[in-house]
Every structure is written in C-alpha cells, then in structure tokens.
Amino acid sequence: MWAADTLTSKGRTHLIWKRIKENKFLYLLFALPFLYYIVFKYGAMAWLLLAFKDFSARKGLWGSEWVGFEHFVNFFSTPDFFRLLRNTVLLSLYNLIFSFPVPVFLALMINEVQQKPFKKAVQSITYLPHFFSTVIICGMLVNFLTSDGLINQIIVTFGGQPVNFLTDPRWFRTIYIASGIWQSAGWGSIMYLAALTGVDPQLYESAVIDGATKVQQTWYISLPSITPIISIQLLLSIGSMLTVGYEKIILLYNGSTYETADIISTYVYRRGLLGADYGYGTAVSLFQSVISLVLIVVSNKIAAKVGETSLW
C-alpha cells in the first residue's frame, strides 16, 4: 500500500518478515484461534459444493453427481419468487430499523437511573425474556392476541373495536417485530451497558460544570463514547439481516397472512425440501450467504468512509 510500490519484491518480503518477527508473540497468541477456524470452519467449507450436486448419502460428497446450477434455477423459478423475496427483504429491513436502536436507548436510559436498586431491577427484568424458547413465546402471543385475548380485552375496555391481529396481513410484521423487541431488547442492552462503563466520569463532571442538562450529557457524552460498539453491531446486523429463521414465522402465520408473512425460508420449509434435499437447501443458503456478504462488504466500505469504524 504505502511505500511498498517503490520496493523490490524481495525487499518487501523482507520487510513483512521483519514485522512478523517483531510481533511474534501476537502470532503465537493467534495460533490457536487460527487453527480453530481452519479445522472447524474452513474444514467444512467443501460441503458448500452440495449446492451444485445431486446428493446421495451412500456416494458421499465427492461421489454425488454434479447438476450445475439446477438447484438455483429451481429456486429462482419458484412461483411468486419476487413476492417471497420482497417479503423477506421488507421483514428483515423493518426488523433492523425498528429493533436495532431499542437496546441502545434502553441502555442509555438504564445508565441514567440514579437509584441503584431500581437500576439493577430494571436490568434483571428486561433481560429475562431472552430465556424463553420461540415455541413458548409464540404460544403465549397467540393466547394474548386472539379476539378475546388480553390485548383485545384492553382495547375493548378503552372503548375500541377488537382487532384481528392474527389473521390481518397488515398486522403480521408489527407483531413479529414487536415481539422480537420484547424478547431481545434487554439482552441486547447488556453489551452497551458494558461499553458505558468505559466512559470517563470526569467528562460528566466537567459537563455539569458547563451547565449541561442530563439529556445533553447523554447525547454528547454517553452516546458518542459507545459509538464504535454501536457501529460494529450495526454492521454485523446488516450482514446477518437476511437470515430470518422460519421457526417463529410458521408458528405465527396462517393462510390469511401469507401475503406479508410468507418469506423464502418458510416457503422452502413448506415445500418440505429442507430435510430431504440437501443440495437444494445448500443452494438456498448459499444464495443468502452471497447476498449477506455483499451487504456487509458494501456497508463496511461506507462505514469506513463515513466514520472511522471498519470491521476489517
């Protein structure tokens, strides 16, 4: 990059070796994790070839026949492919937009609480829902959202009309995202609370002397000091945006809400191919992987240009 172009290739190698030798202990520390990635992650990568094969268990990965892009063609020629893709993208996008900021605000709010016992109580309560499995959460959601469920009882008490939350396609995304926030906001805020411990208290003290209000302190001191963590979390979230699992959706959707709720993974699930046809399943996930990679590479470029944070 920098002076490298002016050096001969031999000199360049020499320089690199020198740098590596200087920091040999860093490489020593990194050896074990590196080995881990080679063995456990890259050791399994060859199986991505399944996406181009007609898999037969007896013949194994290498013995199975090549089918080229057949699985991809099948996948793209799904009827309503674009509706599925649109639903997938919209659901993940809304999910990111609405779910991502909540833990940040929650952490900032908890951080401002002066009463220690209350602070601890809020922290411990909000992270609880993380421990409930999807099946339990969805069972309860349906229970609360039926026409005579808790939510509709509240609506009726305040003089409103009961809402068909579960059969009206317009409500599906709201329910999906809101319940997601309910379940993970407290858990997500832990990371930011940890980051907030790194803020120098002197900053607040001098801000108070300058007459800054609480809101200003939060906005100008707390928030900026956790920005690096927020950016990294955001980048990673964008990258894994599209990996919306089907489990929660199949527990919450029904024919009436397909219009908004049916996404790629639920369709593939309904088609019963995930369990039976590994080639097809791998092709679908490979498609998602490539998109995810593009998303994260692009957003990382943007982040590096705009802010100073970068994943690599």
Binding site: L29, A44, Q123, S289
Partner: protein, 295 residues
C-alpha cells in the same frame, strides 16, 4: 465529586426516564408472571382459563412432576459441566483471537478478520459440521459440545472493538518498559477489560446453557444429554410438529403435556443461569476502567 444541584429539566428527565422504564418492566414482566402463576395453578383450572392475575388452587405438583423425571438430575449436571468448560474455553479462545486482531501492527489482521467474518455467512450446514466432528473423532464426547462453538465471530469482533478502545499510551509505555505482547495481554489488557470479559462470560455461558442442537446431533448416549434436550422433549411433546404419526392413535393424542407443566419446565431450566447475571452486573460500574488506569 462536585455537589450537584439538579435543575428542573433534569428532574423532569429523571421522572420521565423512570416512568418509561417502569412501564417497560410491566410489559416485560406480565407475560412472565402469567407463566409463573400458571405453573403454580391447578391443571384443570388452567385448562378452563381461570388463571389471569392470581394462581388458582396453588400447588407445586407440576414442579414435582417434572423433577420426578429420572433423567433430570444427571442431565442438569451435564449442562453445568458443558457450560463451565465451554465458557472457559470460549472466553479464552475469543480473547486470544480478539487481542492480536485489535493491534494495528499485527500484519494480516484485515485478511484474518475478513476470513473470520466470512465464516459467519458461509456455513455449509449440519452435515458438514457433523463430518468434521466425526473426522476429529469427537462424536459422543464433551468436546463435540464445547469445541465447535468455541469462538462466536460476532462476540469476538465486539471484544476486539473493546480492546481497540483501550488508550494507545498504555501500550506505548508498556513497550518502553520492555514488556512483550504476552505480558501486555495478560497483565494489562485483561485486567483492564473486566466488564468486557464479564459480559462475554455471560453471553457464552447463556449460549452453552441454552444450547441443545449440538447435543442432539453429536451425542448418542442419553446419559450425556444436557437438560435442555430433555426439557425440550417435554415442552414440545404434543405439538403438531413432532412425530405426527402417533397422532392417529388413541394414546398419541394424549401426548399433550398440560400447560402448567410446560411452564414449570421453563422455570426449572432457566433459574440457575439467571443467577449468573448479578455477578456480571457487579462489574458494570461507571468508570471502572478509567479508575484502573489511574490506579
């Protein structure tokens, strides 16, 4: 500390802040409270839908029924072992991975980081992971549970970001004092990162505690199953997704486990791991790092 005089706007801020948090807590806690009272109520009363604010016919039979399962004590112990061993390995491995990657002078760090993030998205799936574990002869051992997830790329990157935020001066002075990276890592970086490490311990421990998938895939021996796998089987039995074939039999439909028992199972499994958080919370003190730097 300077004696603070609170302005009206600050008082307002605090009141609003507390009010919002209070409402949030109620929203979060009611469903959980609801599950708790269901688990403590009489099965038929639950079935008739009579429970909503207070338990009806309060009793512990559902808890006793779950605890009578002969597999529970052993699987509980397994889970504790997997969680402790797994967390120890995972936190050390992640720190080992994150520290070099946080240092600018570590040649190749961009490539390595990219390589690692790449694995987050390109996962060849269940069969391939099974094959790797099988080739390493780890099937049916504790290592199959704790090793494949030893580094979570997401957590590792976060950890790296925390390390990057340590002020550069401390490294410079340490180098001047003749310390090498091993010493800096163990004597300076780790002690300064207590809140980070504590958070990571929490995250990994909860992950291992809640994990059941690798146990399902990699373990053959029922004696080695973690508690989540046993509990899941109780909670999910009678759901239409499981073994639909038996549904056509007279006994098959019986497979509905009463709701109160299901919820009892949920509480029994999550209680121990909930105790980890207070220990982590203890380290979430404002300015600990700065204090440590000065001290």
């Amino acid at each position: 500390m300077i004696a603070k005089r609170k302005t009206t706007s600050d008082v307002m801020f605090e009141i609003i802040n507390i009010a919002i948090l209070l409402i949030l807590c109620i929203i979060v806690i009611y469903p959980i409270y609801y599950m708790l009272i269901i688990s403590l109520s009489d099965g038929y009363a639950v079935m008739r839908g009579e429970v909503d604010l207070l338990p009806v016919g309060i009793n512990l039979t559902s808890y006793l029924a779950v605890l009578q399962n002969p597999d529970i004590p052993r699987s509980y112990l397994n889970t504790i072992i997997y969680t402790v061993v797994g967390t120890l390995i995972a936190v050390s491995m992640s720190a080992l991975c994150a520290y070099p990657l946080s240092r600018k002078k570590f040649y190749g760090r961009n490539v390595f980081t990219f390589m690692i993030i790449f694995t987050m998205f390109f996962d060849a799936g269940m069969i391939s992971n099974f094959m790797v574990v099988d080739n390493l002869h780890l099937l049916n051992t504790i290592w199959a549970i704790v090793l494949p997830g030893a580094i979570n790329a997401w957590y590792m990157v976060i950890m790296r970001t925390f390390f990057q935020q340590l002020p550069e001066e401390i490294f410079e002075s340490a180098y001047l004092d003749g310390a090498n990276d091993l010493i800096i890592f163990t004597k300076i970086v780790l002690p300064l990162s207590v809140p980070t490490i504590a958070t990571m311990i929490l995250f990994y421990a909860v992950g291992y505690w809640n994990g059941w998938f690798s146990a399902l895939i990699y373990l053959d021996d029922k004696v080695k199953y973690p508690v989540q796998l046993i509990m899941r089987n109780i909670v999910l039995s009678g759901e239409t997704t499981s073994m639909s074939s038996s549904a056509s039999s007279m006994t098959g439909d019986l497979g509905a486990i009463a709701t109160n028992i299901k919820y009892a199972v949920v509480f029994i499994t999550m209680l121990p791991i909930l105790c980890v958080y207070p220990f982590v919370q203890k380290h979430f003190v404002k300015g600990v790092m700065v204090g440590a730097l000065k001290g």
